[in-house]
């Protein structure tokens, strides 16, 4: 049971972060789910490996909230893929998430490195 509890905490804390990462990734153009997870991994230097169990729920949630839309396309190999794209509302959300992330960063920094310099 303890494991699940921390997981839930992590979800709450990092759900917003994951959304930010996804929206950010889509800023550079529409992608499918696999592509998004690969992009996040490579852009973070293999540090952030998003589990599919978090990625797909996040994608569907973002779509429900209207920040991304999706459509089915045919890939080069004549396979069907579901491609996600940022909406105008999503772009706006990206901005406010970004601000929240920077506030979070500053807060963490404040804890780790207080102005008095106690270390």
């Amino acid at each position: 049971m303890p494991r699940r509890e921390t997981y839930q905490n992590r979800v709450e804390l990092l759900q917003g972060m994951l959304d930010l990462l996804i929206l950010r990734t889509l800023r550079w153009g529409p992608r499918h789910g696999y592509g998004i997870s690969q992009a996040i991994r490579s852009n973070s230097g293999d540090v952030l490996q998003v589990e599919t169990g978090s990625l797909y729920p996040a994608l569907h949630r973002l779509e429900r909230q209207g920040w991304v839309t999706s459509e089915w396309q045919t890939s080069e190999n004549n396979q069907r893929v579901k491609v996600y794209r940022l909406t105008a509302a999503g772009r706006k959300q990206l901005l406010s998430e970004r601000t929240r992330w920077e506030q979070f960063q500053a807060a963490v920094a404040g804890v780790l490195d207080p102005a008095g310099g106690e270390g």
Partner: protein, 887 residues
Amino acid sequence: MTFGRRRHRERELREEIESHLRMAVRERVERGEAPEEAERAARREFGNTLLVAETTRAQWGGLWLETLWQDVRYGARTLRKDLGFTAAALVILALGIGANTAVFSVVNAVLLRPLPYENVDDLVLVWGNFLKLDIERLRAKDAEFADYSGQTQVFDDVAAFSDADFTLTDGDRPERVAGARVSTNLFSLLGARPSLGRTFTPEDHRPGRDDVVVLGHGLWRRRFGSDRAVVGKTLLADGRALTVIGVMPPGFEFPHHSFAFTESADLWAPAVHPEDQLVSRSGPYRNVVIARLKTRVTLERARTQMNALGLDFERQHRSYRGPNGEDGGWRITLSPLHEEAVGPEARLALLVLFGAAGFVLLIACANVANLFWVRAVARRKELTVRAALGAGRGRIVRQLLTESLLLALLAGVAGAALARWGVKLLVAFGPENVPRLSETTLDGTVLVFTSAVSLLTGLLFGVTPALLTTEQNLTAALKEASRGLTAGAGRQRLSKGLVVTEVALALVLLVGAGLMLKSFHLLRHRDPGFDPAGVLSVELSLGERYAEDHERAAFYQRLVAGIETLPGVESAGITSHLPFRRASINDPVTVEGRPFDMGDAASTAAHQAVGPDYFRTMRIALRRGRDFSARDGAAEAPRVAIVNEHMARTFWPGQDPVGKRLKLGGPQPSNPWLTIVGVVGDSVQGQLESALRSELYLPHAQAPDPDMFVAIRAAAAGGDPQSLMPGVRAQVAAIDKDQPIINAETVENLAAASVGPQRFQLLLLASFALVAVSLAATGIYGVIAYNAARRAHEIGVRMALGADRRDVIGMVVGQGLRLALAGAAAGLLAAAGLTRLLANMLYGVRATDLVTYAVVTALLIGVAALASYVPARRAAGTDPRLALRDG
């Protein structure tokens, strides 16, 4: 989200996941991995596709409905798979819910449903009382009604009505119809409007102009064939032609048939208050006064005002005090209209039944909870695997609960159907004197109740097993589950606890039923002081045509003489108050040689007028002196009276009352002295459970009451009193062809009807107790059988070590008895506390009657032993070798 769309989205999601995997595999292959290896690695890296799919689906909106529908379908499938279990649980629950629904329908109709008048909560009846004389609920004199009408600070409107019988003579037979004389504003006060014509105006109340009537719907249908042109037609009653001016709509009824103090009216006529009676404050106490409280006036405030008014009456008028100014305890009381329909005894009785039905339902729930729990334990494997696959504990609990609720709702539907049938039985066989019983239906309120009870039931028996069988520790559970039917000690306690509770509840019901049975038996076999077998009673009411005393006396003398000549009649006698039909009220009595004290309730007696052969006909023993005879009717005969033993003991203890004198009423000279000429045995008046009291009998010739009962005893054994009716009818018609017979009934039937409510209650309570015991026995059987099966290994060991069949049976039955004893102990404690509520309903039995408690407990223990014996025998038949091998 519609199902089609949902399936489409699910398909797309699966496709999305597959495409992800495809791309991952392709990338690995491009990097040089072997295809099968790439496939495995990609899938491993992806994770549990089912779990991902489920978590993703959880993000979709409108999900709870989907989940619910899924759970319902799954639950239905599970229930269908195990039809035996489902059927058993359904039957048990349907019985419990059905019983509750049926009783609640009755409670709803009798206690809860408001009377059909506008803003019924504001309506009150105004009664006069002389509390010190034990005289309560007096109707108002005309002058008092006028005073009440003036209380405009607290009343919006005040109306009055009085009983008025009409003998309709324009048919082939004279028919007596109950009616009411009402004030102009009665209909408007009730908020009722006629469906045809009009109701009364002040004009109609002037003496001489009051020959108009408003018809009730039933009478209009019966006598005028629902003729819509009835307004203006006439009705011949008591020799007068009455003009119909209006008809009331079908639902309207006033007085309501549930009012205990009066009959419902089939037609209404205008009340006439003669001027002289208003001024002199004389005249009979005949008006029932109904008032509507002003909108913001509380009952309390109105009562305070009426108390003040009562004091005013006493100050201003001499008639409210004794001849020497003694305080008679005059008070004006207000009673809410809706309390008139059901007395506190009936209310208590209904609530007791309701409680009993609730107990039965609780026992049923406990039984089904045990069933569910046993089955959930058997499904442990399935449930833990589901948990391993990622279904949260909450989800599993929710799904199990849905299954319980589904079963409960199905049982609710079945129970409602049972209840409908049960209500028909209740209404058909219920006693006539339970007011409003006939109005019982399964209406909206009842169905809402049934649904709520079903849901609650489902939660009750579903929640604990559901919570207890969702296992946290995965591996331990799987290991346990694969070992077969097992359950931890804690779970055993639940099962046993449930059974003990069942036994306790069943015992309480048994005690209640036992007490009521004893009470009913004592009541039914109470010696009423007379012999009711073989006696017919015929009720007559002489109208205004018999205005003179001697006319009335002569009528009844001729009638009795004529009836006694009929073949098959042993004797006949008249009385003004027949046991079980009409009880007389107390009046003060002045005893010669003693000061008159109006405030002393002990110096009151109930009086009635009887004819010469009455005591002989009813076989009431004559203890001293003589009966009334023809010479008491002679012109200047001395005024006489007969007292009963109770009165003799109370008023003249240790003396012979024959020859002593008394006055009925106060000592004023206008009141004649009566000489006692005889003493008769005590007899029951009123209802069978009434206490004996002082009775004073006057000869009818000297007190010719127009409304009398003729008691007719059939000759010889086996004579059916009802067969005398045609002869009696002929005798009445021979004297006066326009004289109707109001009622005819054998006194035995009246006696049986008098305990009708108690019999009804006993039947219902006993039925509930029976069902409860059966359910508890089933519960015991279930637990003992389950335990015995579980301990088969241990039993095998014992038998291998030398225990014989008897030892095994003793062990198993002993287990059952221990459970039963624990339950009985708890039940006895509860019963001792709860049966106090029954105390008022019991006759001749205390609520803590030890014999009843002991007998009932022994019965229950016996049933428990039997229920344990069956599995015990089976366990004793175990082949030790098989049992050891399976261990």
